[in-house]
């Protein structure tokens, strides 16, 4: 790398490192979320829902690319971040490690995980790091449509009387605790960022997620406020997520392994 890092020049190494962790986690989560959405271009409940999933996949990949590019300001090489890391180094949020099993799972993912991801971006937008503001505003504008789609489907399934409701409840219960921990980790790294105004404190992020999701979750007798948020055993402070990593197959697709080796110098 020949570029001189320009991100947060006055910050301590600990804060810079914590902010890099935050940005990489957001970028990786968006990249893997895009993969998970792209699986539903075919097989969604309707052609229109498939097109929406495809569009959201494109949005997430675009957002990921912008966030990876931002890490250049911290001395990282976006090319290497995007195409040359093993799955074990991905900092994407735990609930996306495996594919969405069904449309209820997609709905839980776009409501809970994507919703929390947007709140995490909002927290950075409201923070002290100026260079990202324009990009974040564009991303959050696109995320409004993700939220509309997610909430419309969520309300549909949550208020139905059939199997969809129970599957949705199971899917939410599967993703909510880990999403909360990844979005608002109560660890030293996140606390340092909040103290320096680069993001919001974990408690405030949890409050915002509860405000967003609790009205949706009520028909399922679930609540963000009831979720235990302590950092669990095996928490990976370097990546800001739990143990494990996204499935190899997803990371191979994210890196473009199969065809990149053939067609890209």
């Amino acid at each position: 790398m020949s570029d001189v890092p320009t991100g947060l020049p006055d910050a301590s190494p600990e804060v810079r490192s914590a902010f890099e962790r935050l940005l990489l986690g957001l970028a990786d989560t968006k990249r893997i979320l895009g993969i998970r959405y792209s699986d539903w271009l075919l097989g969604a409940p309707s052609i229109e829902a498939g097109i929406a999933a495809s569009s959201m996949a494109q949005d997430e990949w675009g957002h990921a690319r912008l966030l990876y590019a931002t890490l250049r300001d911290f001395g990282e090489d976006p090319e290497l971040l995007e195409h040359d890391r093993p799955a074990s180094e991905y900092a994407s949020w735990d609930p996306l490690d495996e594919p969405f099993a069904n449309w209820a799972s997609v709905t839980a993912g776009m409501t809970v995980v994507d919703g929390a991801l947007a709140l995490a971006l909002e927290a950075v937008l409201e923070g002290e790091y100026e260079p990202l503001r324009g990009r974040l505003e564009k991303m959050l504008g696109e995320e409004e449509f993700h939220r509309s789609l997610a909430h419309a489907w969520f309300n549909r399934l949550a208020r139905s009387q059939g199997e969809g409701r129970e599957r949705l409840r199971e899917a939410v219960e599967a993703v909510l605790p880990a999403t909360l921990r990844c979005m608002a980790p109560d660890d030293r790294s996140h606390r340092r960022l909040a103290e320096t105004g680069l993001t919001l404190p974990a408690a405030e992020l949890r409050t915002r997620l509860a405000r967003l999701l609790n009205p949706l979750l009520a028909p399922l007798d679930l609540s963000v406020s009831a979720v235990q948020t302590e950092v669990p055993e095996g928490w990976d402070g370097t990546r800001g997520r739990g143990p494990g990593h996204p499935a190899e197959e997803a990371v191979e697709r994210a890196r473009g392994d199969l065809n990149r080796a053939l067609f890209v110098e």
Partner: protein, 90 residues
């Protein structure tokens, strides 16, 4: 089973342009239809886009067009008794 509703999509590229019919879609409700419309018909940077449940469109002079066929709850006797649609009009 949840029943889907047909919505017609209208849009204009610039302020002052006529609102044109650009397509249709099926959705479970209006909120989903809004998102589907914006994401499905995104080939232009639209100034304005609207959706209308096809059942709310009342044909004026024809009873054999797509809007008449999709008009749930519409009293089809009205245009046929007052309209002047015939093959020779075309």
């Amino acid at each position: 089973m949840m029943e889907e509703i047909v919505f017609d999509v209208f849009a204009r590229k610039h302020r002052g342009d006529p609102l044109a019919h650009v397509g249709y879609l099926s959705a479970l409700d209006a909120e989903l239809a809004r998102v589907y419309a914006w994401k499905t018909y995104d080939e232009e940077s639209w100034f304005e886009m609207c959706i209308v449940p096809r059942s709310q469109i009342i044909p004026v002079n024809r009873t054999d067009g797509p809007f008449a066929r999709g008009g749930h709850g519409f009293d089809a006797s009205l245009p046929s008794s007052t309209g002047s649609s015939t093959e020779e009009d075309e």
